[in-house]
Subunit: 322 residues, 2 copies
């Protein structure tokens, strides 16, 4: 099942169920006005939503206008972003010139969740000096998770999978990391691809709590990366259990994988500019690729082997704050 | 003006206006069902709420049951906690055996905001091994703040002031700081004193963006600290401006001061156990005070010179998760 959220003038938007090919939709209706509301009682919601999905399969529904779509969850109570790709962690250590981390537990910070940009929304920044970078990653949305949950139990709470562009301002990242307090200035609002997808809908693209799909990244129309999500050193279920070690997770919590990165980066490229700069430092002693400029475009699309695009496309521009 | 939130079976509770002596209240009514809703259009809300405050002054209203109160904002979209007391930062460096920080900008992390405990609610933890500690601090609630706001403009967005117990699990804090990603496991849900107060209502207790009141801390019935909020190295308006450097702040964002600490700690004591342990390390080479045990009680109350208690009292127990 695929879900999306349509602009309706309200902060949470209107929840719609989307056909398998992404072309048609049916509104979830007044009982399920938004995805955030649906997450509160997912068991009940899913029965209604699956009924609508069946009607869509039978040809019902009206045309879905991609321009009308917000992030599937335009806002949520909690966004916890991991850093589960070891290749990304290793390269960022080079990019940031920081000491190696060998943490006993998964890396995770809490980020801004009051606003997620839609897949075609401009990303607005005050200055290019911030070191504007995209970060292609995957995420999961959970229903209510009790404190102390095991990874096995946590897996059952993963209700939806999303694809995220975790916008980053690299100039602030190192000083913020050095405080130990994590990222505030370095992590403005993320963008999210249009469709939130149930794990079962991903088929073989969902294995062992990992999104086993290539994430195609194009920067200003040129291929930049196509790393696969399968190389997470811990699965999403383990990230969820980690996040819930000392807190209950509220329904609608989004947990991120961190930037998708693969060991064969020489072949598949990267999902953020910082990694490419680290690869340049390793190869030639200094970074050569600059961060993004105003007017730049970034496109992200996760693709299955058969060419299917379960999350749809992020395609947005970097814009100077007016 | 003083506001509180009463239990009504909903996550955001029912907003009420409270009399100056804290004994009586009037419901804000269906147009302003919750404080979070009121923050969205504070200009309009405040006119209605002040009308109710005047009626309370004239003797209207019914008895306020302290046991019925939740946190003033039982949940919000964003909680950004600073660390603005230099004495606290210096002592925590001793407690944690970490390198001195000389950051150019205020310290700040994003914490859990989907749940704030009420002033008399039990604080539930899985284990005493977490190093259970209280942290007495102040906070402000802002309306919508635009990215890039100046500290002077930020001051105008500070609509309410609150008093917070920022529960901390010290065993997780150092490893989490060392990752640079900030606190997830070390920072479960905070508790908040019953009344949110407009800055003008604090009178001389609100100066230069600082809460100039003694914060009385009693642990198991014994005085532990009475540090004053005036020693913040930056004011709340500067914390708000920092938080808004690269993001718009959503209405209802809560910004914290970090643990209240004074240079004359030998006289006034501390607002968290870790600081006392650091003082013991400095004096006698090792910490002597243990962290909290199940069954322990913590009481916090900010007091004006005339004995007034603008935020009311936090009085809660530490309880083992059942």
């Amino acid at each position: 099942m695929r879900l999306a959220t349509r602009v309706n003038g309200k902060p949470d938007g209107e929840l719609v169920v989307v056909s398998a090919d992404g072309s048609r939709c049916l509104p979830a209706g007044p009982q399920l006005p938004s995805l955030l509301a649906a997450m509160d009682d997912w068991g009940a919601a899913t029965r209604d939503l699956e009924g609508l999905a069946q009607r869509l399969e039978q040809g019902e529904g009206h045309t879905l206008d991609p321009a009308s779509l917000m992030a599937p969850l335009p806002r949520s109570w909690q966004w916890l972003d991991g850093s589960a790709f070891q290749t990304h962690a290793d390269l960022m250590q080079v990019a940031f010139d920081t000491d190696p981390l060998n943490p006993e537990r998964p890396l995770m910070y809490q980020g801004m969740s009051d606003r997620f940009l839609g897949p075609r929304e401009d990303a607005v920044f005050a200055s290019e000096d911030g070191g504007i970078d995209f970060e292609g990653e995957f995420g999961v949305i959970v229903d209510a998770v009790p404190m102390g949950v095991s990874p096995q139990e946590a897996m059952k709470h993963i209700r939806l999978v999303v694809q995220i562009n975790d916008w980053s301002l690299r100039a602030y990242a190192v000083p913020e990391m050095k405080t130990g307090f994590g990222f505030i200035l370095a992590k403005p609002a993320c963008s999210v691809a249009p469709f939130a997808v149930t794990p079962d809908d991903l088929g073989e693209g969902w294995q062992d709590g990992r999104v086993c799909l290539d994430l195609h990244i194009d920067w200003n129309g040129e291929r930049f990366g196509r790393a696969n999500g399968r190389e997470m050193s811990v699965g999403f279920h383990e990230l969820v259990a980690h996040a819930a070690t000392t807190r209950d997770l509220v329904a609608g919590t989004i947990i991120g994988s961190g930037t998708v990165a693969n060991g064969d980066y020489a072949e598949v490229g990267s999902s953020c500019i910082s990694e490419r700069r680290a690869i340049e430092i390793i190869a030639r002693g200094k970074p050569e690729t600059s961060f993004m400029r105003f007017g730049d475009a970034i496109r992200m699309e996760a693709k299955a082997r058969d060419g299917a695009s379960p999350f749809g496309v992020i395609d947005q521009k970097v814009v100077k704050r007016g």
